[in-house]
């Protein structure tokens, strides 16, 4: 029998690239002089698994290189060699070479054999040179494996089978037993709990995630749940005592690995052999990945689409159900209401699958900052916070480049050279901070530095030179800062390798706007600058207000709506230059008649007969004149550009309950269009 290895190649590459990313991150965390043994272990394991994989597939060049790397790591692990800055640098270079090797393999391109040989030589030289400095007796600095570590915290996922109650088990009793030996915090999962009418009281539909804190080991937890063996699913996971984010262990991209429960009879833990066979490691990896699967993004998107279709069908049925009369009507409506709830839950679950932590983007920065700082002779400390903040994959993919640009900008223009910092009474090392958090329905990402801040005088000079403002204009400070977002602006005195590449802040702002977000800038001379990016959590769904104009239905995103009102004739006036305006809370707002803009025959022509939706975009407000307000609902955004194209003032389309298409309005676009026409 021949096995087609090709199909495993893709998985090998994926895993190897992830593994390299882990290795890189871990290397950057290594504290020179006092390295954490566990970190070195991690790096070793990663290198080892790449070696195993590449040998399996006959990639001898990669396997050979990794072997040299592994030998060096083993020396570090065994304490016969110490972690120095030079060694770290060597290892980082090895990561680069490995990455290049893998890329070349993947693309079927020739490899840079000289570069590989050079570095392999360096690795071997480093290894050979250790003996002089090495202690006579290797220090057994190995870290005991997970079982005996007695971590301070465990996470227990406890999902009873339906028949748990009738088999004489009671989760309450189990949790109480656990609470007797440790601190337990139970988080309930009642997603599968049916409506009361449909509930068989003898079936168990609840599940829990238990956070267990205390000096106990996995066997003790296991023992308690032995009672329910065969009646439940149990996943035990140790939670590292990380002060920042105790929720989830940082794992490489795509899937969150949930380690399987340790074997029921915990054997005496034995330290891993330094160079065991790859088969054994594979088995261990398989075990570790038990709780997660790798799914292609297309499959998730397909699932999203199917769910979108289901939501539409369900809405259609609900509308139909509302019209039905007779004895069966009530049970039908109850069933439909239940269906609607289930659909919403399903939709949310699928959306959650697409949510990924922003650490995917953040993870590239430690290396980048490290390299840039060296290149520029600056000392920079990078602080990352809120890496676990989750956002939709599509947003995540598009936010990377703008963030890279901002961070580069901070390093290049913001942080001063150490001498200048000392002269200014600051610590020689500058700080660049990347912070993410959820705020309302948005994700907020801040990029800040404690450098010199933006030089308003220089910006002004540059803007005048470039003709962005008139020679005698004297804009206010806030407006000066705004200038850097204008196309064609760059203050770099000389074009460096870094920021001054023609892509400027205008591109950053445009990218952020395309995502439906905004970027703000605050700066204090001598103290630093802060960019704040606010983004929607997802691009796939929007909360919308349905409005009717004639026979058409449009959707106004709720985030754009300030209020809706019926105008009295006294509020309305006509200003010849601006067209119709109305008085609203002390200001005059222009009116956009949707029917005339979109060429639709309206039911109401006189302004006091319809309604005005006060909407805001780009900091300006307008009144959108519509016939009537319909319901509010969450709608799935569909692109018009796939098969048609962009329409001014329209952000996209969605499919309503009856299968009809409704356009989603782009309020900022409408406002820009309206002011363009008014000016013309």
């Amino acid at each position: 029998m021949t096995v087609d290895l090709e199909q495993f190649h893709a998985a090998f590459y994926d895993e190897s690239f992830e593994a390299l990313a882990t290795m890189e991150t871990t290397l950057l965390q290594l504290d020179v002089g006092a390295p954490e043994p566990e970190l070195i272990n991690t790096i070793f394991r990663v290198a080892h698994s790449i070696k195993g994989g590449s040998a399996t597939f006959g990639f001898t060049d990669i396997a050979s290189f990794t072997h040299s790397l592994e030998s060096l790591l083993d020396a570090l692990r065994g304490g016969t060699m110490s972690v120095t800055a030079a060694v770290c640098d060597l290892l980082l270079r090895a990561v680069d070479v490995l990455r290049a090797l893998l890329r070349a393999r993947q693309a079927g391109q020739p490899i840079d054999a000289q570069r590989v040989a050079d570095l392999q030589f360096d690795l071997e030289v480093a290894l050979a040179g250790r003996s002089a400095a090495a202690p006579a007796q290797p220090v057994p600095a190995r870290v005991a494996p997970a079982g005996a570590r007695a971590p301070s915290q465990w996470q227990v996922r406890f999902r009873p089978h339906r028949k748990l109650f009738v088999h004489g088990n009671d989760p309450l009793r189990l949790v109480q037993a656990l609470a007797a030996i440790a601190e337990v915090d139970a988080q309930l999962d009642a997603q599968n709990l049916p409506p009361l009418a449909a509930l068989d009281p003898e079936d168990c539909h609840l599940a829990w995630t238990l956070s267990v804190r205390g000096p106990i080991d996995s066997a003790q937890i296991q023992q308690i749940f032995d009672w329910a063996e065969g009646d439940c699913e149990l996943l035990l996971q140790s939670v590292p005592a990380e002060p920042a984010e105790p929720a989830e262990p940082v794992t490489p991209p795509v899937a969150v690995a949930v380690p399987a429960p340790p074997p029921a009879s915990p054997a005496a833990p034995s330290p891993p052999a330094p160079l065991d066979t790859s088969a054994k490691t594979q088995a261990a990896n398989g075990l570790a990945d038990y709780g997660s699967i790798r799914v292609s993004v297309e499959k998730i998107d397909e699932l999203m689409n199917s769910v979108g279709e289901l939501v539409i069908t369900q809405a259609m049925l609900t509308q139909l159900g509302a019209k039905i009369e007779g004895p069966q009507a009530e049970p039908l409506r109850v069933g439909l209401a239940q269906l609607e709830r289930n659909m919403r839950e399903l939709q949310e679950s699928v959306m959650r699958v697409r949510m990924l932590p922003i650490s995917f983007v953040f993870s590239r920065f430690p290396r980048m900052v490290h390299d840039l700082a060296q290149q520029l002779g600056k000392r920079i400390e990078l602080k990352l916070t809120g890496e676990h903040t989750e956002l939709d994959k599509t947003v995540l993919e598009k936010i990377g480049d703008p963030l890279v640009h901002l961070v580069r900008n901070c390093i290049d223009h913001g942080i001063e050279l150490p001498a200048a910092r000392i002269a200014a009474g600051k610590p020689p090392a500058g700080t660049v901070q990347l912070a993410a958090c959820h705020r309302g329905g948005n994700i907020v990402v801040e990029v800040s530095d404690d450098g010199g801040g933006l030089d308003a005088a220089r910006i002004l000079r540059k803007a005048r030179e470039r003709g962005l403002i008139g020679p005698h204009d004297t804009p206010a400070d806030a407006q000066i800062l705004e200038l850097i977002f204008r196309p064609g602006f760059s203050t770099a005195e000389q074009t460096t390798d870094l920021s001054g590449r023609g892509v400027g802040m205008d591109v950053v702002r445009r990218n952020v706007k395309e995502l439906g977000g905004k970027i703000e800038l605050a700066s204090q001379a001598g103290r630093g600058a802060r960019f704040t990016i606010t983004l929607p959590l997802t691009l796939a769904i929007v909360d919308g207000q349905l409005v009717s104009v004639g026979t058409e239905t449009y959707i106004v995103p709720l985030t754009s709506i300030v209020e809706s009102l019926q105008l009295s004739a006294a509020q309305i006036s006509r200003i010849s230059a601006q067209g119709e305006v109305f008085a609203c809370r002390g200001e005059y707002l222009p009116i956009i008649r949707l029917h005339s803009l979109f060429g639709v025959e309206p039911r109401a022509r006189a302004l006091h007969e319809g309604l005005v939706v006060v909407a805001e975009g780009d900091g300006r407000r307008v009144g959108l004149f519509v016939d009537d307000l319909l319901g509010q609902q969450q709608v799935v955004i569909k692109s018009l550009q796939t098969h048609y194209g962009h329409i001014e003032g329209v952000a996209g389309a969605t499919i309503l309950g009856d299968g009809a298409v409704a356009l989603i309005l782009d309020v900022p676009g409408l406002i820009r269009g309206a002011s363009g026409r008014a000016a013309a």
């Binding site: 109650f165 309450l172 709990l193 009361l196 509930l199 003898e202 829990w208 309503l656 009809a660």
Partner: protein, 114 residues
Amino acid sequence: MKNRSRSPSARATARRRSPAPPDRVQLRACCTLAEAGELKAALVALTPCAGPVTLAAGAVERIDTAALQVLAAFVRDRRLAGRSVHWDSPSTTLIAAARRLGLSTLLQLEGAGS
């Protein structure tokens, strides 16, 4: 295309013809799997009641997950239907059990007894 919300008046009238539904259930001292069926029946009888309903839970001395699950389904269904549930002096046994299983929020028992 018109997504106007449907008025519930038709259903409301239909209901008014039947005798007034009960609006209070007295929980027994022992609320376990054996009594869960009976508890469910009592709570189902409360379902048509549009106004606030009361769960008198002062007598509960023993309770298990099965009974808590029935209560949870009831309280949640009420909440989803926009109707309220009032707890009348829930016993400490009940409150502690709900808290232990992370059910306090779903049961709307938060802040009770403290």
